[in-house]
């Protein structure tokens, strides 16, 4: 028995550091991103966002808002925007918990990238849905309202956990509904403000910025006693 064979790497073992090519790293990065997106059910989230875009198109095209003042005209688009925000917030929830956090160096960037990308997709699909015409406030209001509500959803995920992050946009939707009915003027209920209102836009931007920072740095809260594994 000689030591000559020891210099040859075993089949399947990791190549030495110098041998890792840029292509290998890109492939590993792509695989990591893909696994991350699948574990967060991003494909399903994309399908749901597309469905919400179609729902908005139907609501505007067939004029489901059949009566009421300008405030009543906002209810259905706002509900759909809040639904999109809830989908994005729910996609932050990971099933692996501690092991993933311990091993995942890129996790904060994956969380940030996913949230931003899904928000962009949501805006795109809803803007496409709004092409049916008659969207109250136009595209600018859509961007502000959606962005703000995504922020509310991400903040809720950071505070309550990803599984119940939908409660934030839903609660905010109810508050907006009350605000619209009672002609509230606070910029924190941005849906009640005109599309070009600076105060409403600033508040919505602050909320989404806070949500993105929290979800990037801390991730969604993972309670000690999980009420149920998300699928």
């Amino acid at each position: 028995m000689t030591a000559a064979g020891l210099h040859r790497p075993a089949p399947g073992s990791a190549p030495p550091p110098g041998a890792v090519t840029r292509r290998d790293r890109a492939a590993a990065g792509w695989r990591l991103a893909r696994f991350y997106l699948v574990s967060r059910r991003v494909p399903m989230a994309l399908a749901l966002l597309a469905g919400l875009g179609a729902l908005l198109w139907s609501a505007l095209h067939w004029r489901w808002n059949i009566a009421g003042g300008p405030a009543a005209q906002l209810f259905i688009p706002l509900t759909i925007q809040a639904g999109a925000a809830a989908v994005i917030a729910l996609a932050t929830f990971g099933p692996f918990g501690e092991p993933e956090r311990a091993a995942g160096r890129w996790l904060p960037w994956l969380r940030l990238g996913t949230a931003v990308a899904l928000t962009a997709v949501a805006f795109g699909t809803l803007a496409a849905g709004a092409a049916a015409g008659g969207m109250p406030g136009g595209t600018l209001a859509l961007l502000r309202n959606l962005g703000g509500m995504v922020g509310v959803g991400l903040l809720t995920a950071a505070v309550l956990g990803g599984a119940f992050s939908w409660t934030g946009p839903m609660a905010y939707l109810l508050i907006s509904e009350g605000g619209l009915a009672h002609r509230s003027t606070t910029p924190w209920i941005w849906a009640t403000r005109p599309p070009h209102d600076r105060g409403g836009a600033i508040c919505a931007c602050l909320v989404i910025a806070a949500g993105l920072v929290l979800i990037t740095v801390r991730g969604p809260r993972e309670p000690g006693r999980e009420p149920g594994q998300a699928s």
């Binding site: 399903m44 259905i76 509900t79 809830a86 939908w166 839903m170």
Partner: protein, 510 residues
Amino acid sequence: MTAAAAAPVRYRAPRANGAALLTLARLVRVEMRRNAMPWILPLIAALFWFDSYRPSIGAAPLYGLRTYWNMGEGHTINDFGPFVAGVAAWMGSRDGRRGLGDLVAAVSRPRWAAQLATWAATAIWAVAAYLVFVGVMFAWYAHQGVGGTPPWWWVAVGATAVIALSAVGFAIGAYWPSRFAAAAAAFTAFLALVLSYQIGFKHTSGWALILPTNFHGNFEGNAQVDSGIFYPWLPDLPIARIMFLAGIAVVALGLTGLPARAGSRRLRRAVAAVTLAGVALAGTAVGLANSAQLAAEGVVIPALHDAANDAPIAYSPVCARAAGLPVCLNPAYGRWLPDVTAELAPVLAEVAGLPGAPVRAVQVPASYPSNADGPPLILSLGGQPPVLSLSLGQLNMPGPCGFCGQVPTQEFTGQLQYLFARAFAGAGIGPGSLVQQAVQAALLLKVGMPFAAQVAATQNIPGSPQGQAPEPVYAAAQRLAALPAAARHDWLAAHLPALRAGGLTLGQVP
């Protein structure tokens, strides 16, 4: 013959049934302890305060008006329903999300029974919370001295809506065990409630009355009438809505018992029958709503109507005097008695002693505007000796008034005096004859209300506001008002029957 054969046969079925019930109760109790619903209740409580209670305290302290927003428009359902549907979906999807479907399908009890226990625990938490929150709100109203009786039937509708939404959410979760199921159920529930509210704008009668948040033309507070004060809240429409919502709940729960894993074939057949019964119940309720008619005291459904509910609520009036005349109101309106007497006193004094002048004033119920000529007169004179009838429920009383903000006492004064002058001149529902308008304007001039204020007083009175009268009317009014009191009194005493009959011309006004 053996001893064993001679021994009496023991009938064990009751014990077995008792044990099954005990097991089910234990299962429900375990599910209640492991349920996610209590964790959401603080959020619902905050929203309930913000969206259901807070806006209501801006309305006048009468149950019909205080509960118009939260019970009539269904905001208590809006605040509970989406969250209950979402949490129920989360609970319904539990086994699927955890990959326990095969495992739990192999246990001794039917899977459906265990699912029902999970749903029941969720629904018990939700309904108990709904009743507690509404109960606390009504207790606080009572503490604030809100007049009338609470609309308990509408509370029952809300509780049934919570049950129905929990069942629908649970079914969504059971069929789609995904992290997105809870949000899908919640937003679907909210969208359904918003559409129900929206449809009501155009459909104030017929099948749409069955929709749980359609309040247009059916919640009595909508017409500012006196349900729970002069007559009971009619239960007809609430009963139909309860039937509809219960039918939906039965259908949703039945659907969860249809898949093969739910239990034996026999059980599934029974569940299918129950599901069909739920469809029939909901369909029957829609049919009943379609037959609804508007009556003076609310929505009547002939098949459900109980004549006992038409009996007025007995009360001891509260009375005071205005220009020497007794003025009596329902105790629910007692807080406004000083306002009413103070504002009627000048116009009553102006006509005191005339043969057609009222000898007393009494409050009468405001009725639903069901007659073909429009709403009944708010103030009217009738009987012998004449009695002034005050249907105050049709007016916004001084103080907070919900969406209309705050009613100043001065505005109420103008409305009451204007309406009295109209009633005295016999103007009826329309603007009245030119002479009636002139006499009315003269009376109001004498109590210090200029012509512009007379026009302004009509703006917030139900019905179409009246514009300026023709110039000859104002000229005649000024002539009549300029007469000495005795001369005006004599002219009115001589011409009042002809005036009320509309038989005079402006040239006959002195």
